[in-house]
């Protein structure tokens, strides 16, 4: 860990981790992230396995949805929870399946601290490190084109789960899309509220596990319908 990590202990940052049936990896993900971010809230979205217990044991705060509501709803619950902490200045959205790296999250928070920005969004496509499959690359690119056209916010990667937001951004970004369309919705809200944003290159670790769990491409159809049919 670098010196900046120790000098700023990141107690003003809440890592928001939507959690749904990730018992296989969640302990490691939380332990790994805790060494950088001492405050982690896992929003358990009605997991049927023991994900929540494992995450709690690993050191995260658990906020448990009584029923499954979807990832967008889980993120907003995490935001609402973080907002109850007066010492919170930043929130990072972080996936529970181990495809995000805490060092990327840290770099994004550091940019919020140093630069006049409200939001820093992770992007897989600012450099060549991340290697999604051919079809996935095409769908992600189409999603970017669609989001750019409909929101007026120019991004290289519209559906990256790694984001860092300050309190100003959290006031504007109130997620209504419970299921998967929240990623486009967040971008749209950023555009509408004219938040100052930047993209930051991140490395997404596509493991066999995350590939197997990952979004089916069919979901892009569902997301499109959710966005169009308000």
């Amino acid at each position: 860990m670098t010196a900046t990590v120790k000098s700023t202990s990141n107690t003003d940052v809440w890592l928001v981790v939507p959690l749904y049936n990730e018992a296989a990896v969640i302990s490691e993900v939380i332990r790994d992230a805790l060494s950088t971010f001492p405050k982690i809230v896992c929003v358990d979205d009605g997991s049927s396995d023991d994900s929540a217990a494992l995450a709690e044991e690993a050191g995260a705060v658990i906020v448990r949805h009584p029923i499954n509501l979807g990832q967008g709803a889980a993120l907003q619950t995490g935001f609402d929870y973080a907002l109850t902490d007066p010492s919170m200045r930043y929130v990072v959205t972080f996936d529970s399946d181990g495809q995000h790296r805490p060092e990327d999250a840290l770099a994004m928070v550091e940019r919020l601290r140093r630069e006049p920005l409200d939001v820093v969004l992770g992007s897989r496509f600012l450099d060549g490190r991340t290697k999604p499959g051919f079809l996935k690359r095409i769908v992600l690119k189409l999603a970017v084109v669609f989001t750019n056209i409909t929101t007026g916010v120019r991004l290289t990667d519209a559906h990256n789960g790694l984001r860092a937001l300050n309190r100003t951004a959290l006031d504007a970004v109130v997620i209504q899309q419970n299921r998967m369309a929240h990623a486009s919705e967040i971008v749209a809200l950023i555009g509408r509220a004219k938040l100052r944003f930047a993209e930051h290159p991140v490395h997404i670790v596509y493991t066999d596990y995350s590939r197997a769990k990952g979004q089916s491409l069919w979901n892009s159809v569902n997301i499109l319908v959710d966005i169009v049919m308000k």
Binding site: T11, W14, P38, K39, V41, V43, V61, I62, V63, R64, H65, P66, I67, L69, A73, Q76, T77, D80, Y81, A82, T84, D85, M88, Q176, N178, M229, K230
Partner: protein, 117 residues
């Protein structure tokens, strides 16, 4: 293409109105009232059609549909689509309420952030 142009225009126009109702966010008293008036009109028209079956037949012939029964079927399809869209909107509203309720409950029963170091 130009056969039965009258009914095509009527049906497409009704679908367009339904689509518009879905996109426009107008909620509240006016929309509710319009929906109730619409439902009443529908019942009245159904009653008229039962008592005087020659009326739908005449209307059907006037707008270029062969039989009154066909006209009723077309009307039924449009009404069905409208009902599907309306219940979809209603379900969305319910989902939003359930979400708020579940979220409040989840946060209320979680450990407070101050308990963290």
């Amino acid at each position: 293409m130009n056969e039965q142009l009258g009914i095509k225009i009527v049906l497409l126009a009704s679908l367009a109105v339904l689509g518009l109702l879905m996109v426009l966010p107008a909620r509240g008293a006016r929309q509710l009232a319009l929906r109730r008036i619409g439902a009443l009109l529908l019942v009245a028209m159904a009653a008229v059609a039962i008592i005087f079956p020659e009326i739908p037949q005449a209307v059907a012939e006037f707008i270029g549909v062969g039989r009154g029964a066909d006209l009723l079927l077309y009307g039924l399809v449009v009404a069905f689509i409208g009902s599907v869209l309306a219940s979809r909107a209603e379900r969305k509203k319910l989902t939003a309420q359930i979400t708020q309720l579940a979220r409040a409950q989840a946060i209320a029963t979680a450990a407070k952030p101050e308990d963290r170091g």
